[in-house]
Amino acid sequence: MQSPTDIATLAATARAQRRNVLTEPEAKAFLHAQGIPVPPGRVVRTAAEAPAAVNAIGAPVVVKAVAHQLTHKTEAGAVMFPIDSPAAAEAACRTIASRVVAYQPDIVLEGFLVEAYRPAQPEWILALRNDPSFGPVIMFGLGGIYVEILRQVSFRLAPLRSEDIEALLTERPAMRLLSGARGAAPRNRRAVADVLRRLSDLSQQPTVIRELSEIELNPLAVTETSALALDALIVLRS
């Protein structure tokens, strides 16, 4: 199951299915094609196919449900990690399937996303939003479950100049965590800057602006060497 990577096709498919949100594999296929790093992964249709995917990717992995109607995967218990073996991945798929049905009985499960597991500590959030009054804006900040409470995020109008990227990476106190805190090595700010630049470039593509209302990378893992979108939400314009 290989997703198309051009936004017009993805959007048309989604609209034909009466949904305004791309699935995670669709969103990641698109982002990957745009040069935004995502973990290596595969979509499998059944639990039985999961072990082969783990062998191909390498353990540990994370297993997530794929379903059009499922927008809150964590709440549904549809994400399991870290999974250390092919057999455990198959079992995880079956567990997730039963949880999802219990959470939302009418759901149509299309399969499972098996991805290389990458820890993210702390979690970052990075988004391009097509705002109704300001037009394309870019947000960066500290992600995680308390993002709305801590509000360690900053906005800039797109497109971004290099000084805007620098400001986004330094404006809030939490962004000092990128420099490494409590003995941690400094994180790769240049990799984050690169993702910001790519989102900024996307904001200037007419098709993207016509079709999308939001691209949210959350969480974005930022390590010493890379920035990686562990989850991605793409919302179409209604």
């Binding site: 949100v21 927008t71 959030i125 988004a127 939003r129 705002d131 009054s133 300001f134 037009g135 804006v137 947000m139 992600g143 993002v147 709305e148 509000r151 995020v153 900053s154 906005f155 800039r156 109008l157 805007d164 400001a167 404006e171 939001e214 949210e216 959350n218 939400l233 919302v235």
Partner: protein, 458 residues
């Protein structure tokens, strides 16, 4: 792009609703225009009077012998729309509706205002208001307001406000002498902003040689992209300070994404203001202080502050505030340290903040201040000087004002002065009248003014 000249700097003005009655808004407004010595002809429009304030009155706008540039409309709400249509029929180029009772008042008023918007849009009439105290352009003697401003001081600040009475109160405050005065050349209050907006205003002041500094009180930005693009260009020569309330309004909304619930208009605007180099004041005091600093002082070359103080406590308070507001403590040049050592006892090593209270005992107040302050003004590592000074009897000296004037002229460096204590405080303040040295009531006020100044210019 529309030219606001007929509205802001008209060659002729008519007032529909002008009267000889000084208790009515139309009476006061016309009286203010006459007494302000408006540079062009004034036409009072009144059905019954033949003359108002010595000016020939006309029963309708159509009877006026020329096409006027600007018409003030000061009528009961139900007659406003008809008056606007008369303006268009008579070939007027701009109108300012003083009358309230539109979108700010009721659902019906909202509908009435929408129709005015449509009329303005289709006719091309420049429309300001409704619900405004009016407009002042001191350059052409237009005191077009129902508020009386007896002490208005012309100057390089241009205001755009989107509010009712607030502008009037603020202007009375700055003209009252309760604080240092603020020289305002133009004050354009568009009230409910039915038509003329902040982008039109920016386009106008961009080419207005009299405008040096721009203050905007706005509740919304109609076309954010165009506004910010223009602002980036204008700020290069004319710094902009914005007062935009609603920082704490709950921006949260139901959303499929975190981004959607985080992206409040206020947060995006805050980022955009930083991005485009526009200073954002938190309240009316900061707003006026920042404008005062910007209109009085040269542009800072950096954000490194040298603090001169005669109070260790004020020095530490200043340091906290500077750092919290994104400014930096300067590192003194060796020459500066040398000059400072000359007025300190051997056992005391000078540092930033430079506390020279002890020098007052050693050298006397005049010499201590002169050497201490000169050292800071002369240091090339210092971009901005903050003086937090105590003025009890033993620190007082008659030449304080003269010293500050001399330093301000000689070094052309931004400076903020805070003075505490004693009857000298008032005299020092008075001695600095007209010296382009801004004085602030508190350390916080002074630091915020410097910080906003840096935001607006760097």
């Amino acid at each position: 792009m529309r030219d606001l000249t007929p509205l802001v700097a008209p060659r002729s003005i008519a007032v529909i609703g002008a009267s000889a009655n000084p208790t009515k808004s139309g009476g006061v407004l016309f009286d203010n225009l006459v007494k302000g010595n408006f540079h062009g002809p004034l036409y009072p429009i009144n059905r019954t009077a033949t003359q108002i304030m010595g000016k020939a009155a006309y029963p309708t706008l159509a009877d006026v012998p020329e096409k006027v540039d600007l018409v003030y409309i000061v009528l009961p709400q139900q007659h406003v729309e008809d008056a606007v249509k008369q303006c268009i029929a008579a070939g007027a180029r701009a109108a300012c509706i003083i009358t309230a009772g539109f979108s700010e008042a009721s659902q019906k008023g909202r509908g009435d205002e929408e129709r005015l918007r449509e009329i303005a849009r289709t006719s091309g009439l420049l429309l300001a208001g409704p619900n405004t105290i009016g407009m002042v352009n001191a350059e052409v003697g237009m005191m077009g307001s129902f508020v009386n401003f007896p002490r208005w001081e012309n100057g390089g600040v241009s205001f755009f406000t989107q509010t009712g009475i607030f502008t009037g109160a603020v202007m009375l405050h700055v003209m009252s002498g309760a604080t240092q005065r603020l020289p305002v050349g133009k004050s354009i209050d568009v009230g409910n902003k039915v038509d003329v907006d902040e982008l039109d205003f920016l386009n106008f002041v961009a080419d207005d040689p009299a405008t040096k500094v721009i203050g905007l009180y706005i509740e919304s930005i109609r076309s954010p992209r165009e506004f910010f693009d223009k602002a980036r260009e204008v700020r290069k020569s004319k710094p902009i300070v914005v007062l935009k309330p609603g920082r704490t309004r709950d921006g949260a909304r139901a959303s499929a994404s975190h981004t959607g619930s985080l992206a409040s208009d206020n947060d995006i605007l805050d980022g955009a203001l930083r991005q485009y180099g526009i200073a954002r004041a938190d309240d009316e005091d900061e707003f006026l202080n920042a404008l005062r600093a910007l209109v009085m002082l040269p542009k800072p070359r950096g954000r490194r502050v040298g603090i001169a103080t005669t109070s260790g406590a004020l020095g530490v308070i200043s340091t906290d505030l500077l750092v919290e507001n994104g400014l930096e403590l300067a590192t003194f040049e060796p020459a500066t340290l040398g000059a400072m050592r000359a007025i300190l006892p051997d056992w005391l090593e000078p540092a930033n903040p430079f506390d020279f209270w002890i020098s007052i005992d050693v050298k006397g107040p005049r010499e201590a201040h002169e050497i201490g302050l000169t050292a800071l003004f002369a240091d090339p590592n210092i971009d901005l000087v903050l003086c937090t000074l105590l003025a009890p009897g033993n620190a007082d000296f008659p030449e304080f004002g003269e010293l500050l004037r001399h330093l301000r002229r000689t070094y052309d460096k931004p400076v903020a002065v805070v003075i505490y204590g004693g009857e000298a405080e008032q005299r020092w303040t008075a001695d600095l009248e007209g010296a382009d040295v801004p004085i602030f009531k508190t350390t916080r006020a002074g630091v915020r003014a410097l910080s906003l100044m840096v935001d607006a210019t760097m």
